[in-house]
């Protein structure tokens, strides 16, 4: 009997989702929610909005399930939707000149907490905790100052373990272009994160 690999499992779930199977959809969301939310968070920098956009991504997956071809790796297809959603969000912000919801939340207009839990980074040592917070802020700023495609390439490579070929499919570019994006992003991060290593 053939063993079902995780990749096959995604494709099989998507085939069920295409037939309108909500349980299969639930499983898909459970499997990929973390990667989708965290990728969007690293691009947008706002936990509340990252969850909202991630929900939109999964709703889009549900509505576009008929267009999914099992020949394409599911995560490549999924993160293409993630990338397009981020680009649309940036365009929307640029059009409306909207401030981030994070800023609204800070100003007190946002009353409902996003209730997003960070992994436990607290420490018994306050100085160490402060240093860790400072490091996180510097890394976040360094990621966000990257151009859109460099940021997506670096996030997919570093945090989602995508290959050059998979990143190329998500960003609709060639493998040499991905190598170039990654190299430029790493050079930029090296400058930005000087003193953090």
């Amino acid at each position: 009997m053939r063993r079902v690999t995780p990749v096959d499992a995604d494709a099989q779930l998507m085939l069920r989702v295409r037939r309108g199977d909500r349980q299969a959809f639930r499983e898909l969301v459970e499997r990929h929610q973390r990667g989708v939310i965290q990728t969007i968070y690293r691009a947008i920098g706002d936990a509340w909005e990252a969850e909202d956009l991630a929900q939109r991504v999964f709703v889009q997956v549900w509505r576009s399930a008929a267009r999914y071809q099992p020949t394409a790796k599911f995560t490549t297809w999924l993160f293409t939707i993630v990338h397009n959603t981020i680009l649309n969000e940036r365009r929307r912000r640029a059009r409306r000149g909207a401030e981030s919801l994070e800023a609204l939340a800070r100003s007190g207009e946002q009353t409902e907490s996003p209730s997003v839990q960070f992994a436990d980074t607290t420490s018994a040592d306050p100085a160490r905790a402060a240093a860790e917070r400072e490091l996180q802020m510097r890394i976040s700023a360094a990621i966000r100052q990257l151009p859109e495609n460099q940021r997506m390439a670096i996030v997919l490579c570093r945090f989602e373990g995508f290959s050059y070929e998979e990143i190329a499919r998500v960003l609709h570019c060639s493998v040499p272009a991905v190598k170039s994006l990654l190299h430029r992003a790493r050079e930029s991060l090296k400058q930005q994160l000087r003193g953090c290593y």
């Binding site: 909500r22 959809f25 639930r26 969301v29 459970e30 929610q33 973390r34 939310i37 965290q38 968070y41 690293r42 936990a47 990252a50 969850e51 991630a54 929900q55 999964f58 709703v59 549900w62 509505r63 996003p114 209730s115 997003v116 839990q117 960070f118 992994a119 980074t121 490091l135 996180q136 890394i139 976040s140 360094a142 990621i143 670096i154 490579c157 570093r158 945090f159 050059y164 190598k179 990654l182 190299h183 790493r186 991060l189 090296k190 930005q192 994160l193 000087r194 953090c196 290593y197």
Partner: protein, 146 residues
């Protein structure tokens, strides 16, 4: 492997894309070259620091909220006139109207300018025209009374 080749392979080394032979060659150069070793430490250090970035975990109930969102009616599509094709058509029509308006006002302005120039010319040469009338009248008188 020289310094340039060694540093050009930093990305391949980080992404585990060097085969065993090239990796051995790369490491041999790095062990012998302090400049490349320092450059590598910085490059790898930034990559490792990046890996320490913490992002939020999904909140409790995220999956349920996502499934409930499937029930919501799909947002109304943007009005047809906002579609790219219509925006292009409207933009072209506006440009054509502006061009026609511009040409028309230029034409009217030129016509008025010509009339004003004639008037100025007539005023400037009024005396000479009057003289011409007198000469013409005398000439007619002479013709009538030879």
């Amino acid at each position: 492997m020289n310094c340039q080749q060694t540093q050009a392979n930093f990305d391949a080394r980080l992404d585990h894309r060097l085969d065993a032979a090239r990796r051995a060659e790369w490491e041999a150069h790095l062990n012998a070259c302090p400049d490349c070793a320092a450059a590598w430490r910085a490059y790898q250090g930034a990559w490792n620091a990046l890996g320490r970035h913490v992002a939020p975990e999904p909140s409790a109930g995220f999956v349920d909220r996502t499934l409930r969102r499937l029930e919501l009616p799909q947002a109304d599509p943007a009005p047809t006139w906002l579609s790219p094709l219509w925006r292009w058509v409207l933009g072209s029509a506006l440009l054509a109207a502006l061009t026609a308006g511009g040409w028309w006002s230029w034409h009217i302005h030129n016509e008025r300018k010509t009339e004003a120039q004639i008037e100025i010319y007539v005023m400037a040469h009024q005396d000479r025209l009057e003289d011409f009338d007198v000469v013409a009248a005398l000439h007619l008188l002479n013709e009538d009374n030879p």
